[in-house]
Symmetry: D2
Subunit: 324 residues, 4 copies
Amino acid sequence: MNTFGNHFRISIFGESHGKWVGVTIDGCPAGIPLLESDLLPDLERRKAGAAGTTPRKEDDLPIFVSGIFNDKTTGAPLTIVFENNNIRSADYDAIKNTPRPGHADFVLRQKFNGFNDHRGGGHSSGRLTVALVAAGVVARKILEGISINAVLTEAGGSNDIETAISEAVKNQDSIGGIVSCTVKGLPVGIGEPFFNSLESVISHAVFSIPAVKGIEFGSGFAAARMHGSVHNDAIINEHGATGTNNAGGINGGISNGNDVCFRIAVKPASSTPKEQQTWNNATRSVEAFTVKGRHDLCIALRVPVVLEAVTAIALADLRMAQMR
Amino acid sequence: MNTFGNHFRISIFGESHGKWVGVTIDGCPAGIPLLESDLLPDLERRKAGAAGTTPRKEDDLPIFVSGIFNDKTTGAPLTIVFENNNIRSADYDAIKNTPRPGHADFVLRQKFNGFNDHRGGGHSSGRLTVALVAAGVVARKILEGISINAVLTEAGGSNDIETAISEAVKNQDSIGGIVSCTVKGLPVGIGEPFFNSLESVISHAVFSIPAVKGIEFGSGFAAARMHGSVHNDAIINEHGATGTNNAGGINGGISNGNDVCFRIAVKPASSTPKEQQTWNNATRSVEAFTVKGRHDLCIALRVPVVLEAVTAIALADLRMAQMR
Amino acid sequence: MNTFGNHFRISIFGESHGKWVGVTIDGCPAGIPLLESDLLPDLERRKAGAAGTTPRKEDDLPIFVSGIFNDKTTGAPLTIVFENNNIRSADYDAIKNTPRPGHADFVLRQKFNGFNDHRGGGHSSGRLTVALVAAGVVARKILEGISINAVLTEAGGSNDIETAISEAVKNQDSIGGIVSCTVKGLPVGIGEPFFNSLESVISHAVFSIPAVKGIEFGSGFAAARMHGSVHNDAIINEHGATGTNNAGGINGGISNGNDVCFRIAVKPASSTPKEQQTWNNATRSVEAFTVKGRHDLCIALRVPVVLEAVTAIALADLRMAQMR
Amino acid sequence: MNTFGNHFRISIFGESHGKWVGVTIDGCPAGIPLLESDLLPDLERRKAGAAGTTPRKEDDLPIFVSGIFNDKTTGAPLTIVFENNNIRSADYDAIKNTPRPGHADFVLRQKFNGFNDHRGGGHSSGRLTVALVAAGVVARKILEGISINAVLTEAGGSNDIETAISEAVKNQDSIGGIVSCTVKGLPVGIGEPFFNSLESVISHAVFSIPAVKGIEFGSGFAAARMHGSVHNDAIINEHGATGTNNAGGINGGISNGNDVCFRIAVKPASSTPKEQQTWNNATRSVEAFTVKGRHDLCIALRVPVVLEAVTAIALADLRMAQMR
């Protein structure tokens, strides 16, 4: 379903080339000051334009449809929409017969019996992350005293990211990256046994970001190679502070008061300018294929703000569960 | 909450040192043949006993409480319980004042204001995975034609697992491991946009297994270092078969008909025999600490059958969503 | 929450005097033909204008925001909005201090700490039923072969409804009514034990219609005065047809293949032109009070189409649950 | 599904003639004192034995399976089971071919393709209400300061209930009844727009009680015959107290601080000793039929304690929603 969360619940709608994309937030407490302009900084961070990102630019001006009165939330559903005003649908006609490798064209056509809106990935497009970012701004408002910070720490296998992007532009081949996220100030006790552990809920949210293929908390995969006596974080005071943080701030699926740390793997954009092979359903053969349309060479560049947003959404939901 | 799934929905209950642990499965179709003995092989795989696993042994005999009539499911809630008949609770008295590093003792006490059953980890104990394994057997019954296979591919950083275990026993220090899982036969189209992607739902389930700290699908973290032209899996026939499988059988969060592959990182058991440091709330100082009780040196050994179970549960839920 | 249903799930948003009101339908199967004009007949039935209904008239033209491609549903969330283009908010300033009797003014102010949009009832306004009617049209599309028919059978205590309305207009005092609903063609087996009985789910949906204060199925309250030998409906063929229908087509919470029949009680509109008493928070005394604004004298007139809509929504959800 | 509630969530399992029936409560706060003996008074009220109720008697001794430690709730799932120790299944063999009128035999067989446990109504039996009563006791514990009181006000059409029962015994024909429920002390603001109105959630819960066929809040069906100026309850102080209570303590689906009042219609037990007609699938004709087994002549006698229980469960869930 297109809804995430039980207490701070978001529902997204819209397609890459449709009229609007949007999000409805249900369960947002009343009385939170919120202006459309509050959303602009994060929307700007997400926006295309830097080297390595798609030349498609949307205005990305949020429109509040409901749930706001006198510049404050009302407790009623808060719906925010964005116009899609920069659409070149003709670019996508070819994919009806030649599903793009790495993309969801083939699976969406199968799953929805060919009725899905295939233009630009339709409802599965990265375009929808504009709605996630908007909801993330609202989520942060109910996470007072908690900071969420994500950074691209590696692109194309290098931590000199600027150079990596230049190489990708030169090679005309997309590259992936690693994004690290740190949450500071999260109180002890966030995360719900047995199935809504902090890792479960964050990873559930995070894998809704297109192109994410892995997540690890604290020492993550490296932990599999440690001894218990090394991996265990000694508790050093009554508030649960630990000397090391191999657990990434989470024990038994519950925040322990230390920084919550995790890293995600972002695959290279499937829409690479390089020639590829795919099945052509018209000619019934494998054929060379070149992606058309405007795309990011390094989508990982745009992921940090989206990662912060979905993390905020996940934490807002869990925190409201805890506040009962 | 202690419930997972929307269509094939499981709810678990019980504590490590309580009377019973159990699971209720709601949404299981009627007419599926099911005997208590059908559960034994997987329960046996999970059971303690091998070198590196805890000497605590339970009989682990499943008792069907409801939902079965004439050896078939009825469509009513199917409840299965297991007796806890091998309990030495005195072992755990110390942890009231000295929360064990790496364990959830500290966070549970905070979260539940000290009312949690602290004995053996209480409701957050690995003991609860016996209920997951039972539910997994039922889930597999509604995944006809689909195989799920998990193997421990690495322990203590080595793929010679037997030697790694011996070393751990010799060192008296716990070790972690990597478990790989492959799902064969999953039809195209499993996974629900936007938030219930196949990765989202599997990872949500997987992170409910105690000690899991990372997950990656297909090439996972390695994908972050590939070029798009290499990472993209060329589609080579009309059924969506791909030449490579860097995507791990998933595009846009939806199964593409190829093998679904993922790997998880299991941290070393927190209960290592090695001396550690922790805060003592009675003396109000950091003190040396040695874990008592009976524990696994390499819990990763017991994870594959649990991983298969939660994967089956996640897939059963998504498949029933798809069958609408 | 502002969401109804687990499989065919609707979420509504908007306020009486906000920009738009709307609904998002999640879980709607792909491939259903749907034009904006398909919604017009039911929207027209709901619209104001007849004697006894409010002079406020909206154009009520539905705008499809998402989920439709080439005039068919895509399987993605289907969002429909309506502009509010006939707003006179000044009418409502008085209610800040003098909560209108029978209305939700007082409780909404308390519940949302004064942050709710109080104009015209805000999110709790009958205006929102336009979104329910829109969703009802879509729900009916997936209830092929099933008819839902609701009629106003009594107004102001009389079954001569036209006369009752004339009297209400003459008396300038609002009146209530009884609406009966009959569902034909519902297959055997709709309704989910134990908590999602057909009665439970229908009544849950129905009591979201403003002004409904009672519901009874089949013989309903009269059944409480019958003997079992009279009330029981004899089964007269292998398809479960019954000679009488005191059960209203439902046994054990599950449809039995006969007509599903129920009746609801609609209270008189709280906004009656007659003078009333209420607490004035400014003067801190009970004072005479006259409602301003434009309102229905017999809201029951507008209920049948809304009742059909929510019934369709409830049945669509249960039917999709059953189709698993 | 067999789960009710989002915050205080109960799941029931078991069959009339199975091993145990039980309930799991998820979301119960930690630290609530709870003894098995706390449940006995309400269980006793529900128990059979009075004139007009079935001679089947169960011990109905609750067994706490999980979620309790040192006589207090732990915050983990609280599972309570009851043994079925007085079963005469042979009584029910006949119903395989001759579905009992008024019962769910026919619909359950259709819905579950004949795999349902048909003995004594299986999972749809009134026996399951023992689990509801148990959960109700727990729910009341988190509704401090709130009283819920239900009384049988009418049986067989008369308010001289004792005489009505004697007549039913003499006639050997079952009778129905009316049960009234009053909730005192409920704070203002309980009930969640738009779909989880207080009426919606209470009625959803109430219609899960077998044999309930109608519900009305406040003046209910009588409201349909009142004028607005009469029906409206004048607000007489700043706390929202009203002079009359036609609204039954609910405006706009939200509690207004006055008593919440509603009435339900209970049909006569379908298992009446009187001869009836039903379809015989073996002989393929309509035949005379007499119910065997032990049954209540006036099940309405046993409904008040169950009604209080489900009301408490519904209110506990809504109150916890409100406490966020």
